[in-house]
Symmetry: C2
Subunit: 349 residues, 2 copies
C-alpha cells in the first residue's frame, strides 16, 4: 500500500496541544499495521497571520490539494480580534478552495458522559444522529454582499445541483443507519428552501427505502432539545447547519470529544474538532485531546478505509473514558498528556 | 376613560377554544374596574381562507388599524396545507401591513412548571430573559426573492434605521430589567450583522448603564441551553429571532403558557400565544388556555397600562397552577373550561 500524505494544520491556542496528542495516538496505533503515512505541516489561521499576514496562504491551499487528508485543529482567538483578515476567514476560504461542500457532525450521546449534558437523561436516551450541513453555498458565499453606513445586504443562493450533491451525501449516509432523513428548512418563507424541497421530492425517488420528512428550522431547534431521538440524518443549508449543529453538540455534554468531517467530490477530506481554540486554558496542559483523536479515527475510517485501526482507537478512547482518565471538562483531573498516554496504552491492551 | 377597542382574530383548530377562554377571563377581570372595552371579530388565517380565499382580507387590515390592540390566537393547520396562499402568509402580511417591527418573547422559568423542562433544574435556576426579535425586515422581506427549477435566491437587507428602532425597544426594556443586552448575530460572516454591530456601537452610547455584549448565533444557540441565566435581553434579526425564540421557549417546559407581543411605532400592538394551532387536540376541550390568558395580561400591561388588572390576572393564573388545576400538556387532567373557571374564581379571591 502506498504511503498516505496527511496535511497538518496545527491551529491556535490549545490547537497545537491537542494536535500533538492526536498524532501520538495515530503513530502508536499504526505502528504495527500496514497503514503508512507521512505528515506535512502547513501554516493556517492565527499562526499564519502572524507569519504571513494571511490566514490561508497560497502555499497551504496548493499543498493541501496534493494530500490525501487534512487534519485541522481549533483556530482563532483574541490575539487576532482586530486583524484585518481574521483566522475564521481562512476557514471559509479553505472550504471554498478545496470544494468541501459537506460538513458531517455526529451527535451521539455516550452513556459514560451523558451526566454532563444540560438535558435530562430520559430525554437523551440513546440519541444518535448526524447533521449533514451544506458548507460552500447559501448565505455564506452568495453575492452581492454589501455594506455601508446606512444599509447592508446579504444574498442566499442555491442551485439544484448544489442541493442534489449534499442530498446524495446525506441519503447515502442514512442507508448505513436508520434510513431516516429530515430536511430542515424554512420553506414557509424562503425561496431557497422551496427549491430544496422540490429537489428533494424528485431526489428521494431513488431511495425508496428512506423515510423523508421536513421540518422548519424553528421547529427543529425545539425538537433537538425535546426529542433528539427523533432524528437520524438531518440535511440542511449552510446557515441552519451552523446553528443546529452547535445546538445539538451540547446535548452530548462533552464538546471536547466531538469530531467532524468536511468533504467534497474529490480531493482530500478535512477532519477537525468542533470546538474552538479555548484561549482560557491554552498552555495549561489540560485541553481534552479526545475531539482530535476521534477526528483522526474518523479520518482513518472515512478517507483510508482503515476500519480496524479506527475501531482500535475508538475502543481505546472508550476504555480511557470508562476508567475516568479524563480532563477537567469531563469532570476529571487528568492532563492532556495523561489522557493521551492512557489511550496509547489501551491501544496495546 | 374612553372605551378601548380590541380586534379579535380567533384562529384555527384550538385557536377559537383558547380565545374564548381568554375573553372570559378578561371579561371577569375587568367587570368591577374602570377598564372598558369592546371587541370586534375579524377574519384571519385558515378561517379567512375558507370564507374569502385569502388569509388576510383587506377588511381585516383596515379594521385592525382602527383598534387599540389585537388579540390573535393560533392559526394554520393541515386543512390548508395545499392552499395557494397558506394561513402563515397572513401572519407575515399582517406584521408588515401594521408595521409590527418588534416581537417580544419572555422566557421565564416558573418553578411550579420547570420539572417539565427537558433541561436540568440546576441549569435553569431562575432563568428569566426576553428575546426582542426584529419582525418586518431581514430575509423575511428582502428582495429580490426568486426561484425556478434550477436555482433560487433570497435577500437579507437591513437599514441602520431598522436596526436602531429595534435596538431602542430592547435597550428600553433592559432599563427596567437587569440592564444587560446581548446582540446575537453572525458578524463573522454577514454584512448585515456587521451593520448591526456598527449601529449598536454608536447607539449604546446613549445607554451608559447598559452592559452590551455580542454573541454569534451558533454560540448563542448553545448558551441558551447550557447557561440560560446568562441572558437578560437578547436583540436579534428576524430569522435568528425566529429560531432562538422557539429554542428558548422549550426551556420553560410549558409552551402552552407563553404569550408574546408584536409592536410598531404607533398603531395597535398584537398579542398572541407562541404555540401553534395543535390540530391533534382541537375540539377535545383540553387545550391549555394560559398562553392566551397571559397574552391578554400582557396586553393590559403594555397597551393599556392597566397594571393592577394585569397583576390580578397574573396572580389568579399562578394560583391555578399552584393548585394543579392544569391541562394535560402540564401533566394535569383539567379541561380548558375547568382551568378557565378556576382562574376566574381566583380573580375574586
Ligand atoms: C467561524 C465560523 C465562520 C464558522 C461557520 O460559521 O461556519 C464556524 O462557526 C463553524 O461552524 O465552523
Ligand atoms: C409561520 C412562520 C412564517 C412564522 C415566522 O417564521 O415568523 C412563525 O414561525 C413565527 O415565529 O411566528
Amino acid at each position: 500500500m502506498s504511503k498516505k500524505v496527511i496535511a497538518i494544520l496545527r491551529g491556535d491556542y490549545i490547537g497545537p496541544e491537542i494536535m500533538e496528542a492526536g498524532l501520538k495516538v495515530l503513530d502508536a496505533a499504526s505502528k504495527d499495521s500496514s497503514f503508512q503515512y507521512e505528515t506535512i505541516d502547513y501554516p493556517f489561521g492565527g499562526a499564519a497571520i502572524d507569519q504571513y499576514s494571511e490566514p490561508l496562504p497560497q502555499q497551504t491551499i496548493a499543498g493541501c490539494k496534493k494530500t490525501d487528508a487534512i487534519l485541522l485543529s481549533a483556530i482563532g482567538g483574541p490575539k487576532w480580534d482586530t486583524a484585518k483578515k481574521r483566522p475564521e476567514k481562512g476557514l471559509l476560504e479553505i472550504r471554498n478552495a478545496l470544494g468541501l461542500f459537506s460538513n458531517i457532525r455526529p451527535t451521539k450521546v455516550d452513556p459514560n458522559l451523558s451526566h454532563f449534558s444540560p438535558v435530562k437523561q430520559e430525554i437523551l436516551n440513546e440519541t444518535d444522529f448526524v447533521i449533514v450541513r451544506e458548507l460552500t453555498s447559501g448565505i455564506y458565499f452568495g453575492t452581492p454582499r454589501e455594506q455601508n453606513e446606512e444599509k447592508a445586504l446579504d444574498t442566499t443562493t442555491y442551485t439544484a445541483q448544489e442541493v442534489k450533491r449534499i442530498l446524495k451525501i446525506g441519503f447515502e449516509m442514512s442507508m448505513h443507519r436508520r434510513k431516516h432523513v429530515t430536511i430542515v428548512d424554512k420553506a414557509n418563507v424562503l425561496a431557497t428552501s422551496k427549491l430544496w424541497r422540490q429537489v428533494t421530492e424528485e431526489f428521494k425517488k431513488s431511495y425508496p427505502e428512506v423515510t423523508v420528512d421536513y421540518s422548519y428550522v424553528d421547529a427543529a431547534a425545539m425538537k433537538i432539545i425535546t426529542q433528539p431521538t427523533a432524528f437520524d440524518v438531518i440535511i440542511t443549508a449552510n446557515l441552519f447547519g451552523d446553528i443546529l449543529s452547535d445546538e445539538a453538540s451540547v446535548l452530548t455534554g462533552s464538546l471536547g470529544t466531538i469530531p467532524s468531517m468536511s468533504a467534497g467530490t474529490d480531493g482530500p477530506n478535512l477532519y477537525e474538532p468542533i470546538h474552538g481554540s479555548a484561549p482560557d486554558i491554552a498552555g495549561k496542559g489540560i485541553a481534552d485531546p479526545i475531539s482530535m483523536i476521534q477526528s483522526i479515527e474518523m479520518m482513518l475510517r472515512e478517507s483510508f478505509n482503515e476500519t480496524l485501526l479506527a475501531d482500535k482507537i475508538a475502543a481505546a478512547v472508550q476504555k480511557t473514558i470508562e476508567d475516568k482518565i479524563i480532563t477537567p471538562d469531563l469532570g476529571g483531573t487528568a492532563t492532556t498528556q495523561e489522557v493521551t498516554a492512557n489511550i496509547v496504552k489501551n491501544l496495546k491492551g
